[in-house]
């Protein structure tokens, strides 16, 4: 084993230029991946944040009694996929509106036209339509009939809700697709660079075979070379990322909700993923690319 390591180091030293090219390729792709992964995560995190704000409003009739309220509440609680119910009383609703529209409400005089309401949060954004249907099934004559006579209207702000759901899903899928493409591209790029540097040395491989070296005897130093290249490239990329994170992102992170999105990958995990990826891709790239030249 020590022999193979020495061989790998020797050929790295003697083939400095192709090795450097491969190293740079690994470095750059890992850098891009390292930036891209958190960005994708932050984006999907932000999208999830928006989806979480999707709620269903159940407006009570103006003359609903406390008993009605309790009954409806129980009814809502009994519906599947309901995560949270928040009661908004007439007075609370009035205060909220007043905050939003200010003195314009004064025109209404002292009367409060707003009804009591329940704000229902689903356990999953996509379930909201189901909850709406459960609380107010579509009537035969068209329109909707609430399940309880005390309910005036169940409103899910349907157009906005669907729009949000579709938009966030598109964002997630695009980000995921881009990440996959990027990983595929970097794999090909690294494998190709290694292949080129091997191609320059195919005569060497041929000679080794003629002297009676077994395939694995020839292959091990190349694979180790790939591992070393991958590890060095990965470590350099991570160092650069760490510097960027500490110098640029951390100071402003508190001011931006997006970057501080709770679901962003933690840095330790990112390091592990990047190192593992670069080492594995480089080693496999060397090992597999060599196959062609071993047929002597």
């Amino acid at each position: 084993m020590a022999f193979f390591v020495r061989e790998a180091l020797r050929s790295l030293r003697r083939n400095a230029v192709p090795s450097f090219a491969a190293l740079a390729t690994v470095l750059v792709t890992m850098l891009v991946l390292g930036v891209f992964i958190p960005v994708v995560q932050a984006t999907t995190g932000a999208a999830n944040e928006i989806r979480r704000k999707v709620v269903l409003n159940v407006y009570m009739k103006r003359d609903a009694t406390a008993a009605d309220l309790a009954r409806v509440r129980a009814r809502i609680e009994g519906t599947a996929h309901v995560k949270k119910i928040q009661f908004v009383s007439k007075a609370q609703a009035y205060r909220e509106q007043r905050k939003r529209f200010g003195d314009a409400l004064e025109l209404l005089g002292s009367s409060n036209p707003l009804p009591d309401a329940f704000r229902v949060t689903p356990d999953h954004p996509d379930a909201i339509v189901g909850i709406g249907n459960a609380l107010a099934p579509a009537a035969v004559a068209g329109g909707r009939t609430p399940v309880d006579p005390a309910i005036d209207e169940v409103r899910q702000r349907r157009p906005e809700t669907t729009k949000i759901l579709i938009a966030t899903r598109v964002v997630k899928l695009t980000a995921g697709g881009l990440a996959l493409l990027l990983i595929a591209a970097s794999t090909l790029l690294i494998a190709n660079t290694i292949r080129l540097s091997l191609f320059a040395r195919r005569r060497e491989v041929e000679v080794m075979k003629l002297v009676g070296a077994t395939d694995w005897f020839i292959r091990w130093p190349f694979v180790l070379e790939g591992v070393i290249l991958g590890a060095v490239g990965g470590v350099l990329a991570i160092l650069l990322l760490a510097v960027a994170k500490i110098a640029l992102i951390d100071p402003v992170a508190d001011n931006f909700a997006l970057i501080a999105a709770p679901s962003t990958i933690n840095f330790g995990l990112l390091i592990a993923v990047l190192i593992a990826a670069s080492v594995a891709i480089s080693a496999m790239g060397s090992g597999i690319s060599l196959r062609r030249f071993l047929r002597v």
């Binding site: 022999f3 050929s11 041929e206 000679v207 003629l210 002297v211 009676g212 070296a213 077994t214």
Partner: protein
């Protein structure tokens, strides 16, 4: 791995070749071609029904013009090519029976010298020779003991740490011979070993091969260097168009007093010669 080496290497009466019902006699041929043919994919004939055998310790020249099949014989012997007809036996072992995985172990018992040296450009003289030992799994101590010896034998002790591109052609070929012989293979093949060298240097290389032959190693040299063949007066197998046209125990490059032109004329008259050895 070690077992195979022992099987192939005909080192004594106790060792007998593997894969043969009857033990090959000690005096049995090291190389035996029986009706061997090689047709290349393009339809070119590399070798046509070649039959000959080489005894242990012989020094044999394969001569003939370019394309006559000399290199084909060498490449068949290191199993770089597979014959399309006939059988090749080395030390009694049928080469066709050696599967792909065992080829490296077989090759360690055959030293090969090429016209273009085929040295590893990234290694010093010492490391080039050491590599042939490293592939066999030899330890550092053994390498340190044997490599300087063989380099002294080949007259390269002052160039140990030079890289191949810092050496002259003759010196590079000496390194290549040293690498081929460092394992002390029972069979040494040389494909145009002096093809790239001037006559004076060529003599040195040939003397080196001759000395190796004197240690008991069977040596097979493909060449078109007629001066060398005439000077050495060893066995000559002449090829033409993939056929063996002459096999003489102590031959000259050309048959008798015949000129090349006369020989060609006779060939045409006789309509080709049988593939049987004539000598």
């Amino acid at each position: 791995m070690a077992a195979t080496e022992r099987e192939i290497r005909p080192r004594g009466a106790a060792v007998r070749p593997h894969g043969d019902a009857a033990p090959a006699p000690l005096a049995g041929p090291v190389v035996e071609f029986r009706g061997v043919g090689k047709a290349y994919d393009g339809g070119d004939v590399g070798l046509d029904a070649a039959t000959f055998s080489v005894r242990r310790g012989e020094f044999v020249f394969l001569v003939g013009p370019t394309g006559s099949g000399k290199s084909t014989i060498i490449r068949l012997l290191i199993k770089e090519l597979e014959p399309t007809a006939g059988t090749i036996r080395v030390a009694g072992r049928n080469l066709a029976e050696i599967d792909h995985k065992r080829v490296p172990y077989y090759r360690r018992n055959v030293g090969v010298v090429f016209q273009d040296f085929k040295l590893l450009p990234n290694r010093t003289v010492y490391d080039n020779v050491a590599y042939a030992l490293q592939v066999t799994g030899a330890g550092r101590r053994e390498i340190r003991a044997r490599v300087p010896d063989i380099l002294r034998l080949t007259g390269l002790s002052t160039k140990l740490h030079n890289y191949p591109d810092q050496l002259s052609g003759g010196e590079q070929q000496r390194v290549s011979v040293a690498r081929a012989f460092v394992n002390h293979p029972p069979l040494l093949l040389a494909d145009e070993p002096t093809g790239n060298l001037d006559p004076a240097t060529s003599i040195g290389i040939m003397q080196l091969l001759y000395r190796i032959n004197r240690t008991g190693t069977t040596v097979l040299v493909a060449t078109h260097d007629n001066a060398m063949v005439d000077r050495m007066r060893r066995r000559v197998i002449e090829l033409s168009g993939g056929r063996i046209v002459r096999d003489e125990a102590t031959g000259l490059y050309e048959r008798g007093e015949e000129s090349t032109g006369e020989f060609a004329a006779r060939l045409r008259r006789e309509g080709g010669l049988p593939g049987e050895p004539l000598g």
